[in-house]
Each structure stands twice: as structure tokens, then as C-alpha cells.
Symmetry: C2
Subunit: 120 residues, 2 copies
DNA sequence: ATTTATGGTAAGTTTAAACTTACCGTTAGT
DNA sequence: ACTAACGGTAAGTTTAAACTTACCATAAAT
């Protein structure tokens, strides 16, 4: 379904607070590296490293403008992640019903009765 | 909008390959700890630790059935993450247009003309 | 031609995450 | 009561991630 690459790298990229801050900053508008680093608590090289991670995760992209590197959110990558979660969200909703059923049965029946269901 | 908690912990939780494997396994059906650990390359205590992380990230939940702990995907948490990405996806789409415009202008106008836009 | 702005990368340090084995408490079956 | 199954936590090790400073290359402005 997705011509995307690695979900691990994508989720991992957004798992870091500094990178999430960068990502959210870029979501409001494309920015150069110095401007991205401006509000943040870390050094400019650290930002460069984070940008590399986000870029490899296909969550942001870059265009060169002279000496400046303008970074922006890569909507394709974000969309792919969204779709991933969407898939499991649908699945988990069904499971939610199952759990509800199990919980109901727990109230009336014994543990032994539920044993079969949870085996594997 | 979201009665959710920490996005960092949620994204971080799915950033680990073992945890993603656990998450996807649980998406298909609720399982006990031993059954979750069964196919995986890591030890059972390691799985317990991962489950704790996923649980604190509100991505899975647990019900006790006698001596067994049955884990399942927490659709609420997944939904919150999906919404988060959705928000930035929408924003990034607008930025995509902006970049397209800038790229267009680059073809005809000089770098100096674009400078104002990218400053801050 | 020189200087200044910009940003990528290298090298090194520190902290934390992912794993292991060992241990223990609780519940279920006999 | 005793034994076995289940699973959480503690302690310790190893690897990797996040940061720093230092350095260098390129493009723009004077």
C-alpha cells in the first residue's frame, strides 16, 4: 500500500523531544537551519544532526537556496505514518469489542471458561 | 483537543523495532505475555519491560485474568497519535504549496528576491 | 580578492535504553 | 499443602543516541 520505507526510523525520529520540536516548527513554515536552531536549547550542529535523522525518516525535505538549506515537512512521509496508525486503529477497535465481551463473560463465568480464548 | 498525555513517549514507544512487533502482534488479537514473547527474539522479561513502555505511552492496555496478563491495543491512544499526525499533515500540505511557489519564483527571479520570505 | 554567513561532518563524552540472568510473589491446578 | 505456570522487578552490562567543540567547505556580499 505504501511506497514508504521504514516505520521504525519514522517513529523513532518523532520520539525525540528536540526533533518533535523541530518538526512542529517546520510544520508552521519552512525554515533555514539557523532559524530552526534559534529557539531551541541545543547547539546548531545538534540541529543539523537531528535534521539528518528526520530527513532519512522521510518526514522532512530540503531545498538549497544559495548558502541556506531550507527545510520543510514532507507531507508524503507524514501521510504514510498516519495511514499506518489508521490501519491499526481499525484493528484495535475490533479488539476493543472482543475485550468488552471477555470482560462481560468474566463477570458471570469462571477463569477456566475464558482460558481457551486466550490460549494463543 | 486530546485528553491524551505525552506524544514523545508514544512515538518513542513505536520507534523500537521489538516494540513495534509487539504492537502489531497485539493489533491482531489480545495476548498473554508468554504468547507475545513466543515468536520474538528477546527474553520474556524484556517483553515485560517493553509492555510497560507501551502501556505508559497509552498504546496498549492490560486486563488481569487469574495469573495471566492479557494485553491489547489501546485504540484511544492510537487515535490520538493519528490525530496528531493529521494536524501536521494538513499544515504541511499548505507548506508544500508554498515551496512549490518559491521554486517557481526561483526559476525566474534571483535569490535576493526570496531572501525576505525565508528570513525567520 | 577578502570577509562573513551558513551549515555539514568528525571526534569525543555522557547518559540512557535494551537486553540479560536471577529472584520472588501470586494464582491455579493436583 | 505442594507444585507448576505466569509474569513483574532488580541488578548489571553493552551499545547507541544525543550532545558538545572544533574544523572545513561553499556561496554571497563588500
Amino acid at each position: 500500500m505504501q511506497a514508504f520505507q521504514n516505520y521504525d526510523s519514522a517513529f523513532n525520529a518523532l520520539g525525540d523531544p528536540t526533533r518533535r520540536a523541530i518538526f512542529e516548527k517546520l510544520a508552521s513554515r519552512p525554515l533555514s537551519v539557523v532559524h530552526i536552531a534559534e529557539g531551541l536549547a541545543v547547539s546548531r550542529p545538534a540541529v543539523s544532526q537531528h535534521l539528518k535523522v528526520l530527513r532519512e525518516a522521510k518526514l522532512i525535505s530540503m531545498v538549497q537556496q544559495g548558502t541556506r538549506s531550507i527545510y520543510s515537512v514532507n507531507s508524503e512521509g507524514v501521510h504514510a505514518m498516519r495511514d499506518y496508525l489508521d490501519r491499526f486503529w481499525t484493528e484495535s477497535l475490533e479488539n476493543f469489542k472482543q475485550i468488552a465481551e471477555q470482560t462481560e463473560k468474566q463477570k458471570t463465568k469462571s477463569y477456566a471458561a475464558n482460558k481457551k480464548r486466550s490460549n494463543r
